[in-house]
Point group: C2
């Protein structure tokens, strides 16, 4: 035996005892993932874009109730790689076909007698990885006390963040360096948010949007949040390391699991183009295919509703003055007559849905009492005629959208789920908007904890069983589960337009941030479309929307959702029927989407192709800075010429002083056209781009700058 062989033998022996000394890698295009164990046997991963480090070697692992050091002392017992390149079609979406291409690396780890797998998928625009706990003798039912997933960032990046709050996402965004992140003041001052629980001053919510000093865009989130607690990030302001921070249950545990099981995917998107973050399909690609076989009842839709009038104080959800008296206050919003008005309006404008909030008993006493037995989900107020309105709506080709506000009493809602959904089917409600305003019951649970994650899944499954579409308000933020449950159309889980009604509102930059953050995981029911942008709250005339009217139109394109509300009152739309035409026309389901221009916090411009049509719709929005976006229409079909209707800010418009000033221009354009979209401060532009008829080609002039 030679010395060489002896050395090789020793080396192999060393390797066998200490795991793989070498690094494992996987790469897709410019994105590279590396995995290795450090000297303590702690698993670590790193992410590169080309040669540039995006995430430095960062720890992985857990503290389990059954094993407090399940983050070190590992060895690698094996690994596999796999290449996948497939296509799939979503039931609805921003595009009609999605490519799923990745390199997969699975690492098999062992610590003592316990097993852990980590699966990495490397995409052209980022990385996703998840932990898998295989069936094994020494881990059966177990409890996660801590997840130790780190994201060691390479510098003091700019972050667009909201606090890591166990119960809400409804904060305004703060833009700051990582080194400046502290959420205490914003948590304390956000008094318009009902329930705020943010014990860690250094915690931020995901999706977290980042921009490096080098101009790289990074987004951290999770995909497929199933049977687990939601992940926030604890920020180390000194070394720019983020660490997973899960939402606890009442006794301080994070998750109760049973092997074999997996965690959600932790996702890191990266690109040198902001637009790539918006167009990424990685979150969806990491989710499971649709669990619903027959989906013809799932239909994206626009809707109006008896809602804004309550948000602005014009009417009330409740019927009586208060819970002690039963005489009507005269201020009830959801009366048969009022609902008929909305039905008439919807029918006249080919809007298929009318949401009605406050139709059911319980509202006199519903908020802030942390109690069950608020709503029974089936008993209407005396002035709301369930059957009559169903017939009236049906006669006009309109459907009512159900509202089930739970006031946070999830146990109470679960007791009544069959009753509530049976009622919906009986009276022809195709969709339900649910709400969870208030502290959660089971008491001590949080909106974002594992129990509530499972609650929302139970409700989604029940809704699917009853063939009802769902729009969830106040849940944890989405993580792409609408691929698996395409009846889960949209969520709120963020600061929506309503904050303009009853609170200080949303800064002009707000809607230029949301697609980079909240919407990364799924559609948001933002409820845009306000035409009377100020003076709608009689009790407080300072309440206003912080955009121009043209930007309100553009939001139907830039804030993607298969459920879109035209939130204002019919009479306000009646003031500007020409502007309202855009809302009538804009679709809610798409064959294709192009991110034309985007910078988080500054501007967004998106074009989308209507499903089954050659028409395109374009929306461009800006923050408080007016700007002109040079917009090429090169995405249009080369062989066609289009009638463009451009709804834009008037020259003297601005969100603060003159928000309702808009102009409408029509012109002919084609794929060679480049537009100069002039956006006012807090402004926007909305364009319908429809193949022109011969007559239009004759009558309407081509675009001129």
């Amino acid at each position: 035996m030679t010395i060489r062989k002896i050395c090789l033998g020793l080396l192999l022996l060393f390797a066998a005892q200490h795991g793989y000394a070498q690094e494992l890698t996987a790469q897709q295009d410019r994105v590279k993932l590396t995995f290795a164990l450090d000297n303590n046997g702690t698993p670590q991963y790193a992410v590169y874009l080309g040669t540039q480090a995006i995430v430095k070697p960062s720890e992985l692992g857990f503290v389990l109730q059954e094993d407090s050091t399940f983050y070190r002392g590992f060895t690698v017992t094996g690994h596999e790689t796999k290449a996948v390149d497939e296509r799939w079609k979503p039931v609805w979406g921003e595009v009609n076909s999605i490519r799923n291409q990745y390199q997969e690396l699975t690492v098999h780890l062992q610590q003592g007698q316990r097993l852990l797998n980590i699966v990495f998928r490397v995409f052209a625009d980022g990385v996703g990885f998840r932990y898998e706990f295989p069936e094994q003798p020494l881990l059966n039912y177990f409890v996660v006390k801590e997840e130790r997933t780190a994201f060691r960032l390479t510098g003091d990046h700019t972050a667009f963040w909201i606090p890591g709050d166990y119960d809400t996402n409804e904060y305004e965004y703060t833009t700051s360096k990582l080194s400046a992140i502290n959420n205490r003041d914003i948590v304390a001052s956000s008094t318009a948010i009902a329930v705020r629980v943010a014990p860690d001053e250094q915690a931020v919510q995901t999706p977290l949007m980042l921009k490096t000093g080098d101009g790289l865009y990074i987004n951290i989130h999770e995909a497929a949040l199933v049977n687990y607690s939601a992940m926030q990030l604890h920020v180390n302001r000194e070394n720019y390391t983020l660490t997973s921070s899960l939402v606890p249950d009442p006794v301080g545990n994070l998750a109760y699991l049973h092997t074999p099981c997996t965690t959600p995917w932790r996702t890191i998107l990266v690109s040198d183009k902001a637009a790539d973050i918006l167009s990424s399909k990685t979150i969806l690609n990491l989710n499971e295919p649709s669990a619903i076989a027959q989906t013809d009842w799932i239909k994206p839709m626009k809707y109006v509703g008896v809602w804004w009038e309550m948000q602005t104080g014009k009417s009330t959800w409740s019927y009586a003055e208060d819970a002690r008296h039963h005489t009507p206050s005269g201020k009830h919003g959801a009366t048969t007559d009022n609902v008929k008005r909305y039905i008439d309006f919807a029918a006249a404008n080919h809007i298929p849905g009318v949401l009605v909030e406050g139709w059911n008993t319980g509202w006199e006493d519903w908020f802030g009492n942390w109690k069950e037995n608020v709503f029974d989900y089936v008993t209407p107020y005396p002035d709301f005629d369930v059957k009559g309105l169903q017939a009236y709506a049906a006669g006009k080709g309109v459907q009512l959208i159900m509202h089930n506000e739970t006031s946070g009493a999830a146990t109470d809602y679960e007791r009544q789920l069959d009753t509530a959904y049976r009622f919906m089917k009986q009276f022809g409600y195709p969709a339900v908007k649910t709400g969870y305003v208030g502290k959660i019951i089971p008491r001590g649970e949080h909106h974002d904890g594992q129990w509530m994650v499972n609650h929302y899944q139970r409700v989604t499954t029940k809704a699917a069983e009853y063939q009802v579409m769902m729009d969830t308000h106040e849940p944890m933020r989405p993580t792409g589960l609408h691929r698996t449950w395409p009846n889960w159309m949209a969520s709120e889980a963020g600061r929506g337009n309503e904050y303009n009604a009853f609170a200080n509102g949303n800064k002009p930059e707000h809607e230029t941030i949301l697609p980079f953050t909240r919407l990364i995981g799924g559609p948001m029911d933002y409820t845009p479309g306000i035409f009377k942008l100020s003076g709608y709250n009689a009790a407080d005339t300072s309440k206003r929307v912080h955009t121009t009217l043209a930007k309100q139109l553009a939001l139907y394109v830039t804030l993607y959702s298969p459920l879109q509300m035209a939130a204002d009152f019919p009479e306000n739309y009646a003031r500007y029927p020409d502007a309202f035409q855009f809302i009538r026309d804009v679709p809610v389901d798409w064959d294709d989407t192009r991110i034309l221009a985007a910078e988080p916090g500054d501007y967004i411009s998106i074009a989308r192709k209507e499903k089954g049509s050659d028409s395109w719709y374009l929306g461009a929005i800006t923050d408080e800075n007016s700007r002109t976006l040079e917009t090429s229409l090169s995405f249009l079909d080369a062989g066609k010429r289009y009638l463009v209707t451009l709804y834009g800010d008037a020259a003297n418009a601005d969100w603060y002083g003159n928000p309702e000033a808009y102009t409408i221009r029509t012109f002919i354009a084609d794929y060679k056209t480049t537009l100069q979209l002039r956006l006012a401060s807090g402004g926007g532009a909305a364009l319908s781009i429809v193949p022109a008829t011969p007559e239009q080609l004759k009558k309407v002039k081509p675009y001129r700058r």
Copy 2:
């Protein structure tokens, strides 16, 4: 104006400012209640028996989230007294007619602008009082942080106690002075009890039985535990003051209330006769009348069951070896054939019910994992034929009793309540035994907290809606609610006979204590009737029942329940058919009850008159001391002569060495007869006393000592 008038005026002024200076009193027979405010405006009550203080002036009040000093600074704004003397008939019970006679004193209190009423009811055998929070502007929804109800006892009484545990009542009783109470060791050593949570070493459970040095008997408990947390008692060993200690929720609150509302009644029974404690109807009298209008479906019953064989390890609840494998282990108890055996036995012996545990999927993985989704309550194992067994039983005049073990996952049970109870109705189950073995989900809640109190009420209401009788295992201990919900037949909520099967068992004195403690609030499903008193646990031959066979028979009389199990195997009853005759004969519903002799921890002798019959049944039991009870039959009708069948310990019987030795004697007796009932160590005597036929009078001899 005279000096006298000035003084009177000043006095009145003083009284007006400081509340009533004088004491308020109410009295019923020898029991007197006094109420007054102390110098701090703290409400206080005291209880006397004749001139003897039972409870010294003791504080009342609360710490509320909304008012941290809602226990002082009160004034009395008014008071009323009322005398009530009425009769009512229970649907089932120990007697068929109950007198409700009391003096009621209502005290109206005010602190600042908040209102509180305290209602006292004084009975001939004790006092009950409760707090009432009237509707008022400054208290609407509120949270109880502490209840400060004191019971200042007058001396170092002997107490028969179990630890104040948030999740279980299944401890052995300790008999000690108040000054010696500390529960730490017994909590730590009671390892056979699955879930034990007793943070306060000085806490004891109610009903608490006490005996003073003067020979007075005192019992402290509560009545009508509705929408509130269960009350334990913190013991001050130095001054013998007990203080109410409620079970907290996950965030440390005790109860969430909404005015107008009331607390449960705090009850203090007192007599110089131990028998009066057992015969007291005060707890029932303090409960609301039946909420169920039509009660013909509610029928007290005896039952056998596929149960003891699993408790003793002879068979298993589960079907397969474990959750990972699906092949049958061959040890499954609830098979169609085995159940038929029990049905045959029940039919042959005119026993209407057969309980079957382990009939449904989920048992391979059910215990100790603190998870939901264990049972679906409707899916049988492959070897349990639901429909076939229903038909088989019906054909023999027998009904199956359903088993719904929840493993503590109350939220999961609530989701499936309609499904579970619909299944019961569909397949002819007249009754259900529910179980809550394990830590509660909602996590952080306790078996005895307000949320679970409300859970059990929800289940009871649902069961009543489906006309199903309920036997609850592992709930909070009862408080007389079976008056309001007569379908709630029995509970376990205590250390039952099963502890002899799998644990160290129950000392011979155990059953002489239970009626003074656990059963004060309601019937206990103790599951007696074991004939093979040792050697039934193949894995541990030391496991044994700590009584004689004759005492097992007597328990059917001394441990009152409208649901009584004959718990042993048919083959063990077949060994002693003559003894089993008593179980065949003994009724479960009564027109009258006489406590013939009783001393807590020593002996109990009770006679009960069968409902709608002239027959009586008598049971006498003793602790580890053999004794002879001189027993007068003067309760019998003067004009009748009776055939008495006396099932007693053989002369050489004792629970330890010779438990199965019994004798059966028959003789004629009448109201002038006095029996000498010789009870062995751990022994008893059971008697059926039936009007004699002329032929029996000819053939059977009269009683001779």
